[in-house]
């Protein structure tokens, strides 16, 4: 390590400058697949944050024990173990969310965000930096998914976090809770995000 990492910057980079969804385009499948409501987006985000944090911790602790050649399979096993834990906990305690997220829970394993941070960051840095990196990146992911879910829910269903603010028979833009709406909503959010970050930069 040439120079110590600025920990504050290390934490905040995941939220704005290197936001996994809007900027780096990592973990797009769950970002598009489960965000038909704000609650689902939040649930998926938190589940991913947990796996990301735990795998970053373990990877940074055992990094010197893992031979370089088998590091990717080793990382995948570490990640898959935590995903299995999340899967079982959700099934037992929040069955509603478990059903809503469905196939995307086991698919947290192949979320390129998690393997990407393990390989690019946790395997090279100290425990403390890795924890902050995971928290920043994870929070960036949670925020992105919740915002995307909220936008789609507001436009498509006239509600937010299941609180309906239009009458039952009002016409909403159902398109936004259907698959095409996911792409279109994310496209406009990405434009907006670019615009905002370019202004502050």
């Amino acid at each position: 390590m040439a120079k110590p990492i600025d920990q504050q910057q290390n934490f905040f980079k995941g939220i704005v400058k290197e936001n996994p969804v809007f900027v780096m385009l990592l973990g797009m499948c769950p970002a598009l697949g489960v965000t038909s409501s704000a609650f689902n987006g939040l649930g998926m985000g938190v589940a991913t944050l947990f796996v990301l944090l735990m795998s970053n911790i373990v990877v940074s602790l055992v990094k010197s024990q893992i031979p370089n050649k088998v590091r990717i399979p080793a990382f995948i096993i570490i990640i898959a173990s935590f995903v299995t834990i999340v899967e079982m906990v959700l099934e037992a305690y929040i069955p509603f969310l478990y059903e809503q997220l469905g196939i995307f829970i086991p698919l947290i394993v192949v979320n390129c965000l998690i393997l990407g941070r393990a390989e690019a960051f946790a395997s090279k840095n100290t425990l403390k930096s890795s924890v902050l990196d995971a928290l920043g990146m994870g929070l960036g992911f949670v925020i992105a998914l919740t915002v995307l879910g909220a936008v789609r829910e507001v436009l498509g269903n006239g509600s937010i976090f299941d609180w309906k603010f239009v009458s039952e028979d009002a016409n909403t833009l159902i398109l936004f809770i259907l698959p095409p709406g996911a792409f279109i909503a994310l496209a406009y959010l990405a434009i907006l995000f670019n615009r905002l970050t370019l202004k502050t930069a």
Binding site: C29, P180, F183, A187
Partner: protein
């Protein structure tokens, strides 16, 4: 008849990329040229079909009898990772031209969630059998290929288009994907 329904459902109605959101990374990542997207589709077709065959057998003859279903995620991802490596080694030896065409795409496939996703979805088919699961994987990889190649052809045209500054790159691609997904929505109710 059953198989025809699976085929139409997987390719058009529940297209794996455009309506189930699996395999978005390669869909956005390697779709700037039609030729590369054909290579990627070929590699996915190959790996997805073999991976589903192996994971289906493993699930039914190893995990289920020994009550180890909760290890599904871990075993499947390991099997897929190992399989991709093996396919790469075998192809290199047996069919160099095919390896030339698909080689660079193979390592990318391990983290393609479509492969793991289809392997898991194939376990949940009605009256599932090995043949059905394998056919399901085959049909889904055709759906992946169709979406990818159509998307790549549109992107080749986009290069010549005059796009507003703020929408260049990611946003315009996502919008095109959204419109394509809208077109595929028209198939809903077909099966």
């Amino acid at each position: 008849m059953d198989y025809l329904v699976i085929l139409i459902a997987a390719v058009f109605v529940n297209n794996i990329v455009l309506s189930q959101f699996l395999g978005i990374c390669p869909f956005l990542g390697v779709s700037n040229r039609v030729s590369t997207s054909i290579g990627m589709s070929g590699a996915v077709l190959f790996v997805m079909t073999i991976a589903t065959t192996v994971t289906y057998l493993l699930h039914h003859y190893v995990l289920l009898p020994s009550g180890l279903e909760y290890l599904r995620t871990i075993t499947f991802i390991l099997v897929i990772a190992a399989l991709v490596q093996m396919v790469e080694i075998v192809l290199k030896k047996v069919s160099p031209p095919l390896y030339q065409a698909l080689g660079v795409f193979l390592p990318l496939i391990t983290t393609n969630c479509a492969v793991l996703g289809v392997a898991i979805l194939a376990l949940g088919l009605d009256n599932g059998s090995l043949l059905k699961a394998v056919f399901f994987a085959f049909a889904n990889s055709l759906g992946f290929g169709l979406a990818l190649i159509v998307f790549a052809s549109i992107r080749e045209f986009l290069e010549l288009a005059n796009i507003p500054e703020g929408m260049k790159g990611v946003p315009i691609n996502l919008l095109v994907a959204g419109l394509l997904s809208l077109a595929f929505l028209g198939f809903a109710g077909l099966v």
